[in-house]
Amino acid sequence: MPSSTRASRWPTCERAADRIRRHRGNRTGRAAATGFWRRALRHRSFVLGAVLSLLVLGAALLSLVWTPWSAYDIDVASKLHPPSAAHWLGTDVLGRDIVSLLLVGARSTIMVGVIAVGIGLSFGVGLGLIAAARKGWTEELIMRMSDFTFAFPAVLSAIMLAAVAGPGMVTSITAIGIFQIPTFVRVTRGSANAIWAREFVLAARAAGKGSFRITIEHVLPNILSILIVQATIQFALAILAEAALSYLGLGTQPPQPSWGRMLNDAQTLLFQSPMLAVYPGAAIAIAVLGLNLLGDGLRDLLDPRLARER
């Protein structure tokens, strides 16, 4: 190797070492917040999950301002068209444009998922944390009540609710949300109990903290990653539950499109035009996969123990 090449390499090494040194310096100190985004962009499953989730969100937002065709206009004359320049993915049995249906359907999917999981999370996590912090008969009461709720499947509670409030999206969202509460109660209480048994909680109590502050400052941050992963799973389950309820006529009401209803409409035409089932199925799969990857990524990124710069 010619000596000139070697000489020119040394400064490069020096600079690299310098960069590493500066990099390490950033790790502690107030740079932690910007470090999060830098790490986030390097986390492959987080990025993929975020892209897929944003795709679904983008579709829903786009449908508010533009769809290639109206998702509500029926044109039986052009039913079951194959993909073409006019209808990119073809038309369904009523002649509606599949792309438009998928775009508008993303709205109900997101709404059902967000609201139902929101109901489950807020009530379930709250009750679970109370159960773990209070112990005794409070815990017993909360757990037996959630067992009781758990005993009724979502479909059954939806039918009961529909009998009282009438079928519709609100009914199905509420039913799915209530059905999710006991799952969150159990997951929260189980993992919170494990944190309560840890020595740093004893140390926090020895430092004079009450159970409320311990719950907020010590228990919740430590079970957050479990809850995030659980929430993404529940989001996927909510989408599927909504599809099932729509099939029974209890969910999204026609003409409001939803991926679940599209899937169920396609069921009768499975041999005639199988692609009708593939499109909404793929859309559901993308949403569920995106959320799971996003949840996985968040779990890694939010845990300082896993926050290693590579």
Binding site: E199, A207, G210, N222, P304
Partner: protein, 334 residues
């Protein structure tokens, strides 16, 4: 704080009954001691003898199902039966505790600066910025290198000894009157042990705190406290000035514990001496002396009733009715 001689902590006839799956267990019986400001007291005994339960009773951290009898007074104010909200104001503020396991005593999700500043924010009226400065000063005082740079690091970025220094900083944040150190060095390397104990001793002297040091290590007790109590089966079997107890051990259990220590310069192949038998089940304690079943000089009246404390010297008490034999020249089986 009436006068200098009034005890800071006064425990009288403390009893703790824990509800276990095997029925009620008398974890602590008839423990009494007084501790003046600036004094140090050692609690020694093997696992399950009631050392930690006594400490947790002082902190008011026993589970709700535990039944506490007797009296614990801090500066004359009764602590037994105090509601939790009132206890919260004392913990970390006037009484602090250092735990055995530094690897788990810190919350992995918060920075160490946050955790050290927390008691200050909670018990004193300082601002967040002041608390942060104070936390850095504390971390510096406990010997954490580069405290101002590492204050925003997380617990997993520190070694065991460093973490124990951090928990000490946490415990000392509010300048407590009483520090309870529950086996603070058990989980650490022997080389680090000495450093941490020296640090604690320095801080106790510097701030005029009282300290209760819990350990199963006689060497640690001998070097670090003025007075000691030996516990066995939930009772204090011997108590007194550390020097007095080590020079004239009165209780057969203390003597057994002393003989069981490993020795430097012992010939290769020498077996460690042990005390025959096992620790009694707390749920099923014998009526008489708890040590009777393992004692070489036990007789029928030892098993009849719990022996009273016998004074064998100035402030040196032994819970044994056979001190005439045990304290005769050479002791038992020595």
């Amino acid at each position: 704080m009436a006068d200098g001689d009034a005890p800071l902590i006064e425990v009288k006839n403390l009893g703790v009954t824990l509800n276990t799956s095997r029925g009620p267990a008398q974890a602590v019986r008839g423990v009494s001691f007084a501790l003046r400001r600036g004094e140090t007291l050692g609690l020694v005994g093997e696992s399950g003898c009631g050392k930690s339960v006594t400490a947790l009773a002082l902190m008011g951290l026993l589970p709700d199902s535990a039944v506490i009898s007797g009296s614990i007074r801090l500066d004359g104010a009764e602590l037994v039966g105090l509601p939790d909200s009132a206890y919260c104001k004392l913990r970390g503020n006037r009484i602090s505790m250092i735990f055995q396991e530094p690897m788990t005593a810190l919350n992995p999700m918060h920075t160490i600066g946050h955790q050290v500043a927390e008691p200050l924010l909670r018990h004193t009226g300082v601002s967040a910025a002041q608390a942060r400065q104070e936390a850095i000063a504390l971390l510096d005082r406990v010997g954490l290198p580069d405290a101002s740079k590492r204050v925003d690091a997380y617990p997993h970025q520190f070694s065991g000894g460093q973490r124990q220094r951090i928990t000490i900083a946490m415990a000392l944040a509010c300048q407590p009157d009483v520090l309870i150190a529950d086996e603070p060095t058990t989980a650490l390397d022997v080389t680090i042990q000495g450093q941490i104990l020296d640090l604690i001793a320095d801080l106790v002297a510097e701030r005029g705190m009282s300290m209760i040091l819990i350990s199963h290590d006689l060497g640690v007790i001998a070097e670090n406290v003025e007075r000691m109590m030996v516990m066995y089966g939930g009772t204090v079997v011997e108590s007194g000035e550390t020097n007095a107890v080590f020079t004239r051990m009165g209780h057969p259990y203390t003597q057994g514990l002393f003989r069981a220590r490993p020795r430097l310069g012992a010939r290769k192949g020498t077996r460690l001496k042990t005390i025959a038998g096992t620790v009694p089940e707390l749920a099923d304690l014998p009526a008489g002396c708890t040590f009777a079943d393992r004692c070489a000089i036990a007789e029928a009246r030892c098993r009849a009733a719990l022996p009273a404390v016998v004074d064998v010297g100035a402030a040196h008490g032994v819970r044994c009715i056979r001190t005439d034999v045990s304290m005769a020249a050479g002791g038992v089986g020595a």
